[in-house]
């Protein structure tokens, strides 16, 4: 299957509609029946999916409307985890950090239902399914049971592998593993790589890996060892500086973060185009996808939307330039 050159996509999260946030709090307070809450999530999911499509995103998702947080959503569905209460992440922001208290087992599908709903409602051929990776879940959990973090991460990899196989059976073609914690401990990176490779083993879909706000010079030494076909990284947040490590990305694709998700200023299409021209000095256009730096959920919804619109417009400027040399489409590559 062919995609327009410089396919556009998202990283995952998107601002939840305000009315949905209200549903979340009512549901938490026990003042909204489960069915009503689930219906609200599904409606929000379609709205955001449409918003992605309307902005012109080639490979959309539903903005994770059904996920309250990026690890809790998964740990709550895996047996062997328990919750003692919230832990501070910064300021007055907290998350429910799970503790592994017995052997972790696959109990129920993690994202299968979400995927089914998005697939049934999208007008696009391909959607991207984001899912938090084994190392990050391990790193962001307490470990009371396993003798080492490695064993915890590898059991999580096994559980994710089972989910990925189920997703493949249901027709998923593009899964993005999110590993924001992957570079937390430089000496554990090889273990994180091994966990990811175990998670993707034997699954024939396209895998991307998203790592953000970390030291990419450290990361680049592992590009060749990681069995994914794309790395989705952030660039706008660093003003597109310091990109030399990309010389080590010799065969896989790059998901290029072209707009900053921590700054409400909306980049102009020309700025996006300029950034893409700059990254093309390192990576040829046939190996480039374009996306925001990271999930958009912390932005105001209108700003998030405008960022996607301008991202697509910027891509279109560069596409017109590439068309002059006959470069108009790229194959959707499951592996490289």
């Amino acid at each position: 299957m062919e995609l327009p050159i410089l396919p556009t996509s998202i990283i995952g999260s998107y601002p939840k509609p305000r009315w949905l946030l209200r549903m979340y709090s009512l549901y938490e307070l026990g003042r909204l029946p489960k069915e009503d809450f689930e219906e609200a999530v599904k409606d929000a999911s379609v709205s955001v999916l449409r918003e992605h499509e309307r902005a012109g995103i080639d490979i959309p998702w539903d903005g994770e409307m059904g996920r309250s947080e990026m690890t809790e959503y998964f740990t709550a569905k895996i047996s062997g985890f328990r919750f003692y209460g919230p832990v501070r992440v910064w300021g007055n922001a907290y998350f429910n950090k799970a503790a592994a208290v017995s052997k972790l087992e696959y109990r129920e599908p993690l994202v299968l239902e979400e995927f089914g709903w998005v697939k049934a409602n999208t007008t696009r051929e391909i959607v991207k399914v984001p899912i938090t990776g084994p190392y990050t879940i391990a790193e962001w959990s307490f470990n009371e049971y396993y003798p080492s973090k490695e064993e915890l991460a590898f059991d999580l990899a096994k559980i994710l592998n089972r989910e990925f196989k189920a997703l493949e059976r249901e027709g998923a073609s593009f899964i993005q593993i999110d590993e924001p914690a992957m570079l937390n401990h430089p000496d554990e990176v090889p273990m994180a790589v091994e966990a990811i490779n175990r998670a993707v083993k034997g699954v024939k879909v396209k895998f991307g890996l998203h790592v953000c706000y970390s030291n990419y010079h450290l990361f680049a030494d592992y590009f060749d060892d990681i069995k994914v076909s794309q790395f989705a990284l952030e660039f706008a947040n660093r003003n597109f500086r310091d990109m030399d490590y990309l010389k080590k990305l010799t065969h896989q694709e790059l998901g290029f973060g072209a707009v900053d998700v921590h700054n409400p200023r909306v980049e102009s299409p020309e700025e996006v185009a300029k950034a893409i021209r700059k990254v093309m000095e390192y990576i040829e256009p046939e190996r480039l996808y374009v996306n925001p730096d990271c999930g958009l959920k912390l932005l105001d919804r209108r700003i998030a939307y405008q960022k996607l619109v301008n991202l697509v417009k910027g891509v279109q400027i560069v596409r017109r330039e590439l068309a002059r040399s006959g470069k108009e489409t790229v194959p959707f590559r499951r592996s490289v």
Binding site: Y84, G85, W90, N92, F142, E144, N184, H185, N215, H217
Partner: protein
């Protein structure tokens, strides 16, 4: 003698964080928020008494991380984006040093007076200490755009701290100095400049002439050993340097894991140090902020029991 002690703060209770949320949304007035702080601090003191913790802090309920709000009261500093605090899924607002540092009018002495009154009311037997970020750790976690090098920045922060120390209503002050032990992680940025160890030592010893200082280190073994202070060492991720002879606090319960330690094993661990030092403070190994509140209290109770050993 074993003295159970708290270092840093306590996890902010959910009920208090809800109040703060209301306050940020403009739905709760300043006065009501202040009431909530006092009520929660008082409850914390009661619980610390029940747990048998002898040297306590006010729980740092008004603080977001070890730097904030302190750095908001320093001229020359702008408070910037979020950075990872060592290798934790915990982020602090970083100080950007834009000009010469000086201490501004600030409410910290007043907050501590309030806490001291509450302590006298519910737990008069305890020693209350203040908690502030140390100059070396402040320097390492700053984005330095004004001073020639980190050494000069350390000196500048120390001067600001010295001013503040003089105003505090407490005699014992804890300086959070993980940077004396922990390596700045390569996870977020490459290290560019270093603080000279001798300078770090001298600067802290100078502060120890203003107040009695408790230097808290964690995430490694301290490489700088100031004299005339109480030095807290993280025994989970570091060890007490052989050559250290001064007063000692040891971080024996792991504040980054929910798993409960066994009391008999802790006692085995403590005994040889007790023989060498005679008096020991036993503490969590690092900030209890990394734990859910219920677990943090369970760990404090365990520490309290060591006090009877």
């Amino acid at each position: 003698m074993i003295v159970p002690a708290l270092i840093g703060g306590l996890p902010r209770p959910v009920s208090l964080s809800k109040k703060l949320e209301q306050y940020y949304l403009g739905r709760l007035g300043e006065e009501k928020l202040e009431e909530a702080y006092r009520a929660h601090t008082k409850r914390a003191f009661e619980n610390l008494r029940k747990a048998g913790i002898r040297v306590i802090t006010d729980g740092l309920y008004r603080w977001d991380d070890i730097f904030n709000p302190f750095i908001r009261f320093v001229d020359g500093v702008e408070v910037n984006g979020l950075f990872k605090f060592y290798e934790n899924n915990f982020f602090y607002r970083s100080p950007v040093v834009r000009g010469e540092l000086s201490l501004r009018d600030n409410p910290i002495p007043e907050w501590l007076s309030v806490a001291l009154d509450l302590k006298e009311e519910v737990y008069p037997g305890a020693t209350l200490k203040a908690v502030l970020p140390g100059p070396v750790t402040l320097a390492y976690h700053s984005i330095n755009e004004a001073y020639k090098n980190l050494d000069e920045l350390v000196e500048a922060y120390a001067e600001v701290l010295r001013e503040l120390l003089k105003d505090l209503p407490l005699e014992l002050v804890e300086l959070q100095e993980p940077a004396l032990a922990a390596e700045l992680s390569r996870a977020t940025k490459e290290k560019t400049d270093e603080v000279t160890p001798d300078l770090a030592k001298a600067v802290i010893e100078r502060l120890a002439r203003v107040k009695r200082i408790w230097v808290v280190t964690y995430f490694g073994t301290p490489r700088v050993l100031p004299e005339g202070v109480i030095l807290n060492v993280d025994l989970v991720e570091g060890s007490v340097p052989q050559e250290y002879r001064g007063e000692l606090g040891i971080g024996v319960v792991n504040a980054r894991e929910t798993k409960m330690e066994r009391r008999d094993r802790l006692v085995d661990r403590i005994k040889p140090l007790l023989r060498k030092h005679g008096k020991l403070y036993v503490t969590p190994n690092t900030l209890l902020d990394f734990l859910p509140e219920s677990v943090a209290w369970r760990k404090l109770k365990l520490l309290g029991k060591l006090g009877g050993e």
